[in-house]
């Protein structure tokens, strides 16, 4: 399983890639693997304002429905419309074509408070050890 070093992570298994004052958000390789084949992704409207931890959408596999949580605060400036008809990108390329939303970051320091790749790996190891 891959957890790129240039991303930040949440304990809820989202990732965030910072690009200047913007952040791209998706779910991790671990999350997509746990879900199984993703069959539907529900995303917010462009313009929506999110607080850290706020539910911004839903990802569904045949097995389960899971909420998506905003890693940081921000305003949604783009959503990945391709996922509407091709949700399988979340499985195939979770850090690329499977991206979900692009945020105009509210407070960039919130990004620094997220887990780095090593911290996220340790978090998964603890969760699996339970």
């Amino acid at each position: 399983m891959e957890f790129p070093d240039d991303l930040r992570y949440t304990k809820d298994h989202e990732w965030l890639r910072r690009e200047g004052n913007e952040g791209v958000v998706g779910i991790t390789d671990f999350a997509q693997d746990a879900l199984g084949d993703v069959v539907f992704v529900e995303l917010p409207a462009v313009g929506a304002t999110l607080a850290p931890g706020q539910v911004f959408g839903v990802v569904e596999s045949n097995k389960t429905v899971s909420d998506l949580f905003a890693p940081v605060s921000g305003r949604v400036i783009a959503v990945n419309q391709v996922l509407r008809d091709q949700p399988e990108h979340v499985n195939v390329d979770p850090y690329g074509a499977g991206w979900m939303i692009r945020l105009a970051l509210g407070r960039t320091e919130e990004v620094d408070a997220l887990l780095d790749a090593a911290g996220y790996r340790a978090h998964i190891a603890r969760e699996q050890g339970k």
């Binding site: 084949d37 539907f40 839903v58 045949n62 429905v65 499985n91």
Partner: protein
């Protein structure tokens, strides 16, 4: 502790993702449910369905007991024939759906759902009393399902049995890859295919041989994930999800199995009355007009009024559409009727469509 089939080690060696289902630890998928689904639709796929139960009835009254417990007519079966049928309770509610095979003189084999095996066995025994010998053979038998348009081509390489001459639901006993097997032309995918019933101890070598034949046709081992989306596209109801003791086979779209004129059977009185009056709700197919997954328990609306409930749903891997099964009021159960499915507080437009959602190309007869 979940039970394991005789093929558990084979699944683990293949790297299967495992899931608990009906008290069994079963493969959910190997490489991915979508890919396995496609393999079955386009070529072939091999499933372990050994969690299914097998109950045998023997004795002079075996046929009579089957006839009294099931809605279909077992007298239509010649030796070697199988038949899809339903166990109902006295209220006409569905206890289980099953296939009955007429194995030999005074011998019938009932292949039942894993979740219901123990209850079915108790039900059949209680009903048979001293009239027939009832044996739960589930632990001593394993069941493989090879499904897909190329299933016959794959299986043909392993057996001298006349597979081409094997009619749907019929069974033949003989050697497959050197293993004594009951081969039936049955399945739960909407494709052509076979189910292979074998002694549990013979299951691992048979699995290996059939898997190799499957792979030679670019087929894949397939898990319960693909099995569920395949059966849903084929419009086949899942017992316990799409029908249960509160629904009748007439409501579930299984009227074709109910032979009211065959003589008395458990549930007949209620079903006859329902058939005469007409059902008030029906299990129908739904197709959503926009992306969304209709899930078990979601409400169905029509012109602002609640008219039913979803029982199953998925994104159809073959069609790319969002489909479901739902019980709706009889006047709504007309293909083309516009409805809406309540998904997390939103009403997603949908319409009633004919089942199955997917129909295979039949070979030239």
């Amino acid at each position: 502790m979940a039970r394991r089939t005789p093929l558990f080690d084979a699944h683990r060696a293949l790297g299967a993702r495992l899931v608990e289902f009906a008290g069994w630890e079963m493969p959910l998928s190997y490489r991915g449910a979508a890919e396995e689904h496609r393999a079955v639709r386009e070529r072939c796929g091999l499933f372990d369905v050994s969690h299914m139960g097998e109950i045998e009835l023997r004795g002079p009254a075996a046929a009579a007991v089957c006839q009294e417990l099931t809605v279909n007519d077992v007298r239509r079966l010649r030796i070697g024939d199988g038949q899809y049928t339903v166990f109902c309770n006295e209220r006409g509610g569905v206890l289980d759906d099953l296939i009955v095979f007429h194995l030999g003189p005074e011998r019938y084999l009932l292949v039942v759902n894993a979740a219901n095996t123990a209850a079915d066995y108790a039900w059949v025994r209680a009903h048979a009393g001293e009239r027939a010998e009832v044996v739960d053979r589930s632990a001593e038998l394993a069941l493989l399902a090879l499904q897909g348009p190329e299933a016959e081509l794959a299986l043909r390489t392993l057996t001298a049995l006349d597979l081409t001459g094997l009619r749907p639901f019929a069974a033949l006993e003989g050697s497959v890859a050197g293993v004594r097997t009951l081969v039936s032309r049955t399945g739960y995918t909407g494709e052509d295919g076979f189910e292979l019933l074998v002694a549990a101890s013979d299951a691992p070598p048979l699995w290996e041989a059939v898997l190799e034949a499957t792979r030679r046709r670019d087929g894949l081992p397939a898990g319960l994930g693909a099995r569920d989306t395949l059966r849903l596209e084929a419009g086949l109801p899942l017992c316990g999800t799409d029908m249960d003791e509160t629904t009748t086979p007439l409501e579930a779209g299984l009227a074709w199995t109910v032979k009211l004129d065959k003589g008395d059977f458990v549930g007949r009185a209620v079903l006859a009355e329902q058939a005469a009056r007409g059902v008030t709700r029906r299990l129908v197919g739904l197709e959503l007009a926009e992306p969304g997954i209709p899930r078990h328990g979601y409400p169905v609306w029509r012109d602002g009024a609640a008219v039913g409930t979803v029982t199953s749903g998925t994104r159809s891997p073959t069609l790319g559409t969002y489909i479901g099964l739902a019980y709706v009021s009889a006047d709504t159960a007309v293909p083309g009727t516009p409805v809406a499915v309540g998904i997390r507080g939103r009403r997603v437009p949908a319409r009633v469509v004919a089942r199955p959602f997917y129909r295979r190309m039949r070979r030239e007869e």
